[in-house]
């Protein structure tokens, strides 16, 4: 096994998985229950991603500067601050906390 082989095989595997999603018949999603599940899947996957991105560090849960940064982001979202400002603010809060502590 060489590095190139690893890179190519892994890349083709990921590409195939992406394409597979598009091959699922669309009629599957036209009934209310599959449609509802599909919508909720978006919500669940996003929420899970947020949790892992905020608290995860490899295989561990770590509470660090990301948590208050996310709390600030939530507050700003509640206050209807523009999306890009929220993202930058979160980065700034995390960077600030890490610089000070």
């Amino acid at each position: 096994m060489t590095l190139w082989l690893i890179v190519i095989i892994a890349s083709l595997a990921c590409l195939s998985l992406k394409i597979a999603g598009y091959l699922v018949p669309p009629s599957l999603l036209e009934k209310p229950t599959p449609a509802r599940i599909a919508n909720l899947l978006t919500v669940a996957l996003l929420a899970a991603l947020i949790a892992v991105q905020t608290l995860g560090s490899g295989n561990r849960i770590v509470f660090d500067a990301r948590l208050p940064a996310l709390a600030v982001a939530a507050l700003l979202l509640k206050l209807r601050v523009p999306f890009i400002v929220v993202v930058i603010a979160a980065a700034a809060v995390a960077a600030l906390i890490r610089a000070v502590f």
């Binding site: 690893i6 892994a10 990921c14 590409l15 996957l45 899970a48 949790a51 996310l70 890490r98």
Partner: protein, 266 residues
Amino acid sequence: MARTEPGPSDDEQAADDQADDDQRASRVSRWNTDDRAAARKGVAVGLAAAAYGISYGALAVAAGLDVWQTCVMSLLMFTGGSQFALVGIIATGGVAAGPAAIASAAILGIRNGVYGIRVAPIIGAGRWRRFAAAWVTIDESSAVATTQPTLRSQRIGFWVAAFSVFIGWNLTSLVGALIGNALGDVRVYGLDAAAAAAFLGLLWPRLRQVQTIAVAAAAAVIAAATTPVLIPGLPVLVAGIVAIIVGGFNWFVSPDPQPEPPGIPT
């Protein structure tokens, strides 16, 4: 266009002017408020994702990949989670850990397939268009697409996000690979928090009904709880099962549900 005395050349001029006006009007009316908002989200998400590319590039060369391999992965694989996982495993295990690296990248890539099921109806028909869409179906493009109110803005959001991330991610992967470790730890810049905030911003408008809030909360808890016990990538997929169960049994339906932003076009 006011004309005092229409003659043959004036008629042609008037027709040309009318055609110009029609073209200008259709260009202006092509993008309404929703569309522009979707495009702005797409660009913003692209910037946040692209910033990560530098750390990926640096980590990849640190793990032993050369600049070409680093960039080919960003072009071909084009999904951040899988790329980081592969590079991380190679960094600690070398080429011998190849199979584990491939498996890990693939498991993390399953969710893109799940996104594809959801996003495919938005993309529409056309073999090459769908192939291109599949290539760029990732967290960011799917999240922007599925959180817009109209089909048009969903499409615009998807393609703008996909385009921004694709250009940004590939460029910054190259930059990261070239400058190597000079950047240091990206956490210093709070980029990991920025990514979390970006996903939260995309989820936020959907958290209106009890059912969606319940699913989001349960999914977050399950993903966090399973992180220490499952290999990377699996917690997110396991959390997805929550959606299937709650959606299948249709729990937590409020008596007077507010209309959700249309998910799938009928």
